[in-house]
C-alpha cells in the first residue's frame, strides 16, 4: 500500500466517523502534531488519535461532510475535510476544517501535522443583538463576571453590545472577549467619553 492509499483510507474513516478504521489507517505509534486554536497538541499512538477524533466529532447530530480531498505533496500526502455539525449540548451548528499533512513509509502513516480551524460559528445574517450597559463597572468591580454572565445568555453567533464609561473597561473588554474565545466586531467611542464594544459570541 502506498502512503496515498493509506491517507485515502484515513480520510474515508474520519469522514464516516469510523474510529476503528481511523486507528487501523494509522501506524500504531503514529505521532500527530495538531495546531488547534490557541494551542499545539501532541497526540501519540493510533488509539489516542482515534479517541481525540471521537471526542471532537462523535455524537454530533446533524453531521455533514461539506468537502473532502486527498492530494499528494511530493513524498507526503495532504488530506483535508470540512464538516458542518452540531455538537452534543450545543445550541447552534458550527463548521470545522482540518488539514492533515501525512508522511510515512511502507504504506502506513507514521507522522501527521494537522491544522485545525476550530469549531467556527456559521455566519448568520439574522444575528440578534443584545444590549448591556456596564456603566462604571471596572476591573475590580465585577466587570468580568458580569460580562461573562451576559455573554452566556446570548446565543452563539449573536452579538452583545456593551457600553461602558470605566476607563479600564475600555481596554479590558476587548481583551476579555478575545481571551474567552469571542470576536470583537467593533469598538465605537462616543463624544461623552463612553465606549461601545460589540462582541460576537464565539462558543
Amino acid at each position: 500500500m502506498t502512503t496515498e492509499a493509506a491517507a485515502t483510507a484515513l480520510l474515508a474513516a474520519i469522514t464516516s466517523r469510523d474510529m476503528a478504521a481511523t486507528a487501523a489507517a494509522l501506524h500504531r505509534e503514529v505521532r500527530v502534531r495538531a495546531l488547534l486554536p490557541g494551542q499545539v497538541e501532541l497526540i501519540d499512538g493510533s488509539p489516542e488519535v482515534a479517541a481525540r477524533l471521537e471526542a471532537w466529532f462523535g455524537g454530533a447530530e446533524p453531521f455533514e461532510v461539506v468537502t473532502k480531498e486527498v492530494r499528494p505533496v511530493g513524498d507526503k500526502v495532504a488530506i483535508a475535510y470540512r464538516f458542518r455539525l452540531t455538537r452534543p449540548g450545543a445550541d447552534a451548528p458550527t463548521e470545522i476544517e482540518q488539514t492533515w499533512m501525512c508522511a510515512g513509509t511502507n504504506g502506513t502513516i507514521e507522522t501527521a501535522d494537522v491544522l485545525c480551524s476550530g469549531f467556527r460559528p456559521l455566519a448568520r445574517s439574522t444575528a440578534t443583538t443584545h444590549d448591556y450597559d456596564a456603566g462604571s463597572l471596572g476591573c475590580a468591580d465585577g466587570l468580568t463576571a458580569a460580562f461573562k454572565e451576559r455573554l452566556t445568555g446570548v446565543g452563539v453567533g449573536d452579538l452583545l453590545r456593551v457600553t461602558t464609561i470605566d476607563p479600564s473597561a475600555k481596554e479590558d473588554l476587548p481583551a476579555l472577549a478575545r481571551l474567552m474565545g469571542h470576536t470583537v466586531r467593533s469598538v465605537e467611542a462616543h463624544t461623552d467619553g463612553a465606549l461601545t464594544i460589540t462582541v460576537e459570541r464565539g462558543r
Binding site: G138, C139, S168
Partner: protein, 121 residues
C-alpha cells in the same frame, strides 16, 4: 505573539528609589528597541498622572520627570491599573501623556500571548 516586556512598579512618590528603578530598566529596554511597558499598580498609579512625577528623585538616579519623558520618547508605554486608579480618584482626564488606564484582562492577554514580566520589590 506578544513581545512586550512589562515592568511592574508598585511604589509612588512615597518611595522614590522604588518608584524610579522600574522606569530605569524599562527605558533601557525601550531604547534598545524593545516593546516596553511599565505597569503601575498601587501607589505607582500616581506617577502616571499629570505632574505625578514632580519631585520624585533619588540620589544616583535620574529624576523621574526626565526619565518618564525619555521613556515615552523611546516608544515606551505606561499602564495604570484601573483597580488602583479608581479608589484614588484618578480619572482619564488627569492621566499623563503616554499613560493609559487598563484592567487586568489587558495584562493577562499579553502574558498569555507571550509577554515577559519583570517584578521589582
Amino acid at each position: 505573539m506578544s513581545e512586550k516586556l512589562i515592568f511592574n512598579c508598585t511604589n509612588g512618590p512615597e518611595s522614590p528609589e522604588r518608584a524610579i528603578l522600574p522606569f530605569v530598566a524599562a527605558n533601557i529596554a525601550a531604547a534598545a528597541g524593545q516593546e516596553a511597558v511599565v505597569l503601575c499598580t498601587i501607589e505607582a498609579v500616581r506617577l502616571g498622572t499629570e505632574g505625578g512625577t514632580a519631585g520624585v528623585e533619588s540620589p544616583g538616579l535620574p529624576t523621574l520627570t526626565d526619565l518618564f519623558a525619555e521613556f515615552i520618547g523611546n516608544g515606551g508605554t505606561v499602564w495604570l491599573c484601573g483597580a488602583c486608579t479608581k479608589p484614588r480618584g484618578i480619572t482619564e482626564d488627569v492621566v499623563a501623556k503616554g499613560a493609559v488606564i487598563v484592567g487586568a484582562a489587558k495584562v493577562v492577554e499579553e502574558v498569555v500571548a507571550g509577554a515577559k514580566t519583570v517584578a521589582f520589590a
